[in-house]
Amino acid sequence: MAEAAGSITVTVNGVAVRVTPGTTVASATLIAGTQTRVSVAGEPRAPLCGMGICFECRVTIDGAPHQRSCQILCEPGMQVTTRGEPA
């Protein structure tokens, strides 16, 4: 699949999402319409603070869990997984 000029494709839970360079992974998850994590009691959670403080936006990126997605920019081919085990 060819990248459109000036855009990056990442996958969120296996679904391709096209974003502009400079987009955070947290924004990509919101664009994909998904939550970021499941809370310890099983509730869906999504980004809150947008500045790396609250840890609600943690997702798994390329297999590494607990990544603060609001502080990490999308890179081509990144595999983002949300809705993992409660964490």
Binding site: A64, P65, H66
Partner: protein, 387 residues
């Protein structure tokens, strides 16, 4: 004048809470005093490993009995105590340590503690994150894990339900001759005073043969399934007779939350809660040598706590020579969580004049006074494996 209380327990850690529960259960009028609240000291700092330990026959008798008591209690424990029979894997790195595995199994079997030997392959299957090529392990299925502050709070809640009174707004400044005094001038007269203040006990009884032995712990974020059992190395045996003050050992515990607690370290002479970075590094390098993937986990917190260490690695439980009112319940080193329940039983038996559940003499404080008139000899402090 008749004392106002039958028993005054000084210290509301898990040991003090267990003592209060046993005393209250026997109808004794019991007051517990601790300015730090319930489970705020070493109880909060420790791992919460319920473990049978066999450094000496007396240690095995106490830990085994207490472990049984925990299992008896477990159906009543609320969810937040997080009690789980995880089992301990005593990991053997080589054939020399496998010999120790077999010896340990024999000792446990004689004491009625079931234990199973895992060979190299079985160990790798049980814990895939362990490094390849380990010789095997001893699995002790009855060993457990719990969250100590919640366990202490539950025990204290039971004591209060049975009539004990808890006082947290005052700090005890003296506790002897049947009288406990606190920093706001209050006095509590009691027939017996139970000293259960762990490593802080020497503030009240200067001659107590207890020293602070600092430990470090690291807790990670949640990684459910990373390891399944409490993992402890047997390698400490090789330096077991070393009296160097600082030591580390591989000791990793999976929490019910999916978090890992990583230990352990031991050092004497450290009086504050600051982190000894070289020791912390050595401790984590030890852990990483057994669990190579541990470096990629996120650590959420690092902290220190103080064990109450005695020269012979056995706790001080029983009458304190020279003051008939005092009964000690301290010096549990790294085994206070495990042995809290048995300690409570022994203390209550002593106060009531009952026959104890196991012979109580090995834990009597008088053993040190007989040996050297009450001043503990620092060189007697050896290595302990755990806690």
């Amino acid at each position: 004048m008749t004392p106002a209380w039958d028993v005054a327990v000084v210290g509301a850690g898990i040991v003090g809470a267990a003592c209060a529960r046993e005393c209250a259960a026997r109808g004794l009028q019991t007051v517990v005093i601790d300015a730090a609240g319930v489970g705020g000291g070493a109880t909060a700092a420790g791992m919460g490993h319920i473990v049978a330990m066999d450094d000496s026959p007396a240690q095995l008798a106490l830990t085994r009995w207490s472990q049984e008591l925990w299992h008896e209690l477990s159906p009543k424990l609320p969810r937040e105590v997080e009690f789980e029979s995880r089992g301990t894997l005593w990991v053997a790195a080589d054939e020399e340590e496998m010999a120790e595995v077999r010896r340990k199994q024999g000792v446990f079997a004689a004491a009625g503690v079931a234990a199973e030997i895992l060979d190299s392959r079985a160990l790798a299957e049980a814990e895939p994150q362990l490094r390849k090529g380990l010789a095997g392990a001893l699995l002790v299925p009855a060993d457990g894990v719990l969250y100590p502050p919640a366990a202490a709070a539950w025990l204290m809640g039971e004591a209060i339900r049975m009539g004990a009174v808890m006082i947290t707004s005052q700090r005890v400044i003296a506790a002897a001759r049947g009288l406990v005094r606190t920093d706001n001038g209050k006095e509590y007269s009691a027939k017996r005073i139970v000293h259960a203040c762990g490593a802080a006990g020497t503030d009240l009884l200067a001659e107590l043969p207890v020293r602070k032995r600092r430990g470090h712990l690291v807790i990670t974020d949640r990684y459910p399934g990373f390891v399944h059992h409490q993992l402890v190395e047997l390698g400490y045996l090789k330096s077991a007779h070393s009296i160097a003050s600082d030591s580390t050992a591989f000791n990793v515990q999976p929490r019910q939350t999916g978090q890992l607690l990583i230990g352990s370290s031991r050092e004497f002479g450290a009086e504050d809660s600051t982190i000894n970075y070289p020791l912390l590094r050595a401790m984590l390098q030890r852990a990483a040598s057994y669990l190579p993937g541990i470096g990629r986990l996120q650590a959420v917190r690092v902290w220190t706590g103080f064990r109450a260490a005695t020269p012979d690695k056995l706790p001080l439980i029983g009458p304190w020579p020279g003051d008939d009112s005092i009964c000690l319940a301290t010096g549990h080193e790294g085994l206070g969580i495990t042995t809290s329940l048995a300690t409570g039983r022994l203390v209550a038996s002593e106060i009531m004049g009952e026959k104890p559940g196991i012979p109580a003499e090995p834990y009597f404080p008088v053993r040190f006074l007989e040996a050297d008139h009450g001043s503990p000899t620092p060189t007697l402090y050896g290595e302990a494996a755990h806690g």
